[in-house]
């Protein structure tokens, strides 16, 4: 960053953006949230089966189905040509995280559906169990591919954060699924733990992201709407985690359940805000020619003068 200060005379074309702002509307950050919530819930469902918690198992399965169903609608709704949504599966293209994600969803969605329907109707238990474990096996990929997707763009606030982005989305998935499960089944300790653990990881990664980025790129997260959303996300998540952990030893009480439910809802809202903050930061970063030109110029000047860090 010593090199940066030598170049505050950054030159632009009438301060106009170099990049195009992502065209994605509110559907996409919404999908990032519900996709993560579904993935986390699928893992919770498998875990609930493993310890024999039927209430958590059902809640998690239904949550996963509702989330991924809604998420699929959101993804189609955001397309410029929604009637051509199936073109996503026209090819297999490993260089496109969106294509890889579409194939993942094509396998994951039906598994989630079978798992939930089998659980609700009590029919085809073997198939249901198979579907539950298949969904859980795909869940880590569903929770993290969206982080790869945003990082695989020219948007500096996303691309430069590529080492952290998948982890941030995984943490958000844990917080979202844990928060929903805690709100629905407040007596489940694993749900509360996942929610609180997710919040802890999300908070740590969000501040790691800020430290990782050079000032001109990081500004997208620390200024404007993205900053306000991140502050809201932080407050809601931490307050929610406090509500979920508070009052240890007074288990089983009505007040305690109510607090946990409230905490779960706050954590979920925090996770939503965090997803919107990341997308908003990307937009701001694409609009800002400094975020595009600054790091590239430092790279060139560094390699010429030999000042570049290895």
């Amino acid at each position: 960053m010593t090199v940066a200060s030598e170049r505050d005379d950054l030159r632009t074309y009438y301060d106009r953006p170099v990049l195009k702002e992502p065209t994605w509307r509110f559907w996409i950050p919404s999908y990032f949230f519900v996709g993560g919530a579904a993935a986390g819930s699928s893992l919770l469902a498998a875990g609930a089966d493993a310890i024999g918690d039927a209430r958590l198992g059902r809640a998690a399965r239904v949550t996963a189905l509702a989330a991924i169903g809604g998420g699929s609608v959101a993804l189609v709704a955001d397309l410029g040509r929604p009637e051509r949504f199936h073109h996503m599966l026209r090819v297999f293209r490993p260089s496109s995280p969106m294509n890889v994600g579409s194939w993942l969803l094509a396998a994951y969605g039906p598994a989630v559906g079978v798992a939930a329907l089998s659980n609700l109707t009590g029919r085809a238990p073997v198939l249901g169990r198979l579907a539950t474990w298949s969904a859980a096996a795909l869940a880590p990929a569903i929770a993290t591919y969206t982080g790869v997707l945003v990082a695989d763009t020219a948007v500096p606030a996303w691309h430069e954060a590529r080492t952290v982005m998948p982890a941030l989305f995984a943490a958000g998935a844990a917080a979202s699924a844990g928060g929903i499960a805690a709100a629905v089944v407040p007596d489940s300790a694993p749900a509360r733990r996942l929610a609180v653990g997710g919040v802890a990881a999300e908070t740590a990664l969000s501040s790691a992201l800020e430290k990782l980025l050079p000032d001109d790129v990081g500004a997208a997260y620390t200024d404007g709407r993205a900053a306000r959303l991140r502050r809201a996300a932080m407050r809601l998540s931490v307050a929610g985690a406090a509500l979920c952990t508070g009052g240890v030893g007074t288990r089983g009480g009505r007040a305690r359940r109510m607090r946990t439910r409230l905490g779960g809802v706050a954590i979920v809202l925090g996770a939503v805000a965090e997803r919107f903050a990341v997308v908003e930061a990307g937009r701001a970063s694409a609009r800002d020619p400094r975020a595009t030109i600054g790091p590239q110029r430092r790279g060139i000047d560094g390699s010429v003068t030999g000042l570049a860090a290895p």
Binding site: Y13, V18, P22, R81, H87, M88, R93, S95, A143, A191
Partner: protein
């Protein structure tokens, strides 16, 4: 039809020859039937086009500069004009990230969007390091320069190059254009124009060289071009590795949450 694959073709835009007439913008619009993009007065010198987009496939930039006395043979005001276009990158991010296969590489080594396949997901828009491709409103699909794919099939040069009255836009086999461009830079340097440099002519750059490259008189960012663009998919493998580690951590976290008991 041709027997062998044709040689890679491209644009060499020599901005020292550009007079800012915008014939390229008009010819492109006419030939490709590109819709209007608004009658905006931007107040940026003579540039009222602003940027490349779904509805603008050639954009002439106008840069007004005061030349420092020490560095110029002719001190005073200098006007840089440059006709920008899709770069038809060797490693094209838009093509790499396109989930439908709508964006493909042609037999001329150009990069073209198939309008009948594109479903308007917008991924290419966020991936292009030059901000070239855009989503067309009320249409929903992504559009950009095709290097006049239809004209190339007919053995014609693209409409912009055809219309350019000063040969600022030169079309031809990329190898030939690169040779010609290097000669031209040498000639300009000899004449004392030391700021002349080529942009995107090198196969070793972040996009593997481009099908459309430029002779500039100042740093690329002055013209609104990224100084060191990189195809985002260069870092895709390492990003997937980060995702794999994160996914494993998520699994471990869930396992931990269950291992400590249900209450």
């Amino acid at each position: 039809m041709v027997d062998a694959a044709p040689a890679r073709v491209g644009f060499f835009t020599d901005t020292t020859l550009c007079i800012g007439c915008k014939a390229c913008e008009v010819a492109c619009k006419e030939w490709n039937d590109v819709p209007a993009d608004g009658f905006d007065f931007l107040g940026l010198s003579y540039d009222n086009t602003g940027e490349l987009s779904a509805d603008t496939w050639r954009h002439v930039a106008f840069v007004e500069q005061v030349v420092p006395e020490a560095s110029a043979s002719e001190p005073g005001l200098r006007w840089l004009m440059s006709s920008d276009v899709c770069k038809h990158c060797t490693h094209a991010a838009c093509l790499d990230v396109c989930p439908t296969g709508a964006i493909f590489r042609t037999e001329f080594d150009t990069v073209v969007v198939q309008a009948d396949v594109c479903n308007g997901c917008g991924y290419c828009v966020a991936a292009c390091p030059f901000g070239v491709i855009g989503q067309r409103k009320h249409d929903g699909r992504a559009w950009k320069c095709t290097m006049c794919y239809d004209r190339l099939h007919g053995g014609l040069e693209p409409a912009c190059a055809k219309a350019c009255p000063t040969a600022s836009i030169q079309f031809g086999p990329l190898d030939e254009l690169r040779l010609r461009a290097r000669e031209r830079v040498g000639e300009l340097h000899e004449r004392g124009v030391s700021s002349a440099r080529l942009y995107l002519d090198n196969d070793d750059d972040g996009v593997g060289g481009a099908g459309a490259f430029f002779l500039l008189l100042d740093e690329p960012e002055v013209y609104g071009l990224p100084p060191d663009p990189v195809v985002t998919t260069r870092d895709l493998a390492s990003t997937w590795r980060a995702a794999a580690a994160s996914g494993a951590a998520l699994l471990a976290g869930v396992a931990l949450a269950f291992m400590r008991g249900r209450r």
